[in-house]
């Protein structure tokens, strides 16, 4: 695939965003608001509380740029990076609750009675049933959750953070973890459908049925569909810091 040249490769062009140079006044503060907003938004159950914080940070960054200072990063990098973080964080938080706090108030009353009851019968009928590790007792399910919780999502969160900081290794890790996500979602959905009776039929029957399960989870499964065309088309020279 040919790499499309985006603005920024011209040697006479302004310094690419992220290149090492003294930070403009206010950038550090604006970045703190932006990243705090992303983190709160990624907490899944109270996500909207992070939106005003995120918006304020983005607005401050935009204002600094309009005053003629160097941009911290192109706006499209902010959109992709913020999405990558909340996508990873939502799954990381959700599945961590399933495993370590399956019988806590949030786990039992919201994730089981919300996600399980509405969309996934296995997370309703078999929730919190594994000895010590809780989770869901369907064959293979907890092994996928462990893969996600201990490997894929932590790597993804680090990658997305460095990606937003315009570090080249963050960009490379975004590509690596994107393909890991493809592997993970193909495996998880296929493995999940092996327990069709428990998830969708009379045993567990979620309120929104088979289609509901796909619709709810497609928001996460489609993540790599965003990332593959973006990462292989955008000008990677924008990520300069090592």
């Amino acid at each position: 695939m040919s790499m499309t040249t985006q603005p920024g490769t011209d040697p006479e062009a302004p310094t690419p965003p992220g290149a090492s140079e003294p930070a403009a006044p206010g950038i550090r503060r604006a970045e703190k608001w932006f990243f705090a907003g992303v983190i709160i938004t990624g907490s899944i159950l109270v996500g909207p509380l992070g939106l005003p914080v995120l918006a304020y940070g983005a607005y401050q960054l935009w204002k600094i740029q309009k005053l003629g200072q160097e941009a911290v990063r192109p706006w499209h990098v902010s959109v992709i990076g913020a999405f990558a973080i909340i996508d990873a964080a939502a799954n990381f938080v959700g599945w961590s609750f399933c495993t370590f706090a399956g019988r806590s108030g949030v786990g039992w009353s919201i994730l089981r009675d919300g996600y399980g009851y509405g969309f996934d019968g296995l997370y309703y009928g078999a929730y919190g049933t594994n000895f010590l590790i809780h989770g869901v007792s369907g064959p293979g399910e907890q092994s996928y959750i462990f893969m996600a919780m201990f490997v894929v999502w932590p790597m993804r969160l680090c990658a997305a953070w460095a990606f937003l900081k315009m570090k080249r290794w963050g960009f490379r890790w975004m590509i690596t973890t994107t393909w890991m996500l493809v592997l993970f979602w193909v495996g998880w959905t296929t493995n999940g459908l092996m327990q069709f009776q428990e998830r969708f039929a009379t045993d567990g029957g979620p309120q929104f049925g088979y289609l509901g399960w796909w619709m709810f989870n497609s928001v996460f499964i489609l993540g790599p569909v965003v990332m593959v065309p973006y990462l292989y088309t955008v000008n990677k020279e924008l990520w300069t810091e090592e």
Partner: protein, 61 residues
């Protein structure tokens, strides 16, 4: 007199990243990421009232 035109105005880096400047595949990724971002937030927060309402909680009670 040659070269009498004023020097080009240097623009902030983000001005080179207007929507119309982006490659169609980058546009596709960014647009879909924006939609999915909203849906992740919406799905997450809606689980709370959904779980409460389907298990007996009524607003205002």
């Amino acid at each position: 007199m040659p070269n009498s035109a004023p020097p080009p105005v240097r623009t902030p880096a983000d001005d080179d990243h207007r929507w119309s400047d982006l490659d169609p595949l980058v546009k596709f990724g960014v647009a879909l990421a924006g939609v999915l971002f909203c849906l992740v937030v919406l799905e997450g927060v809606l689980l709370v009232p959904y779980a409460l309402i389907t298990h007996g909680w009524t607003p205002g009670r």
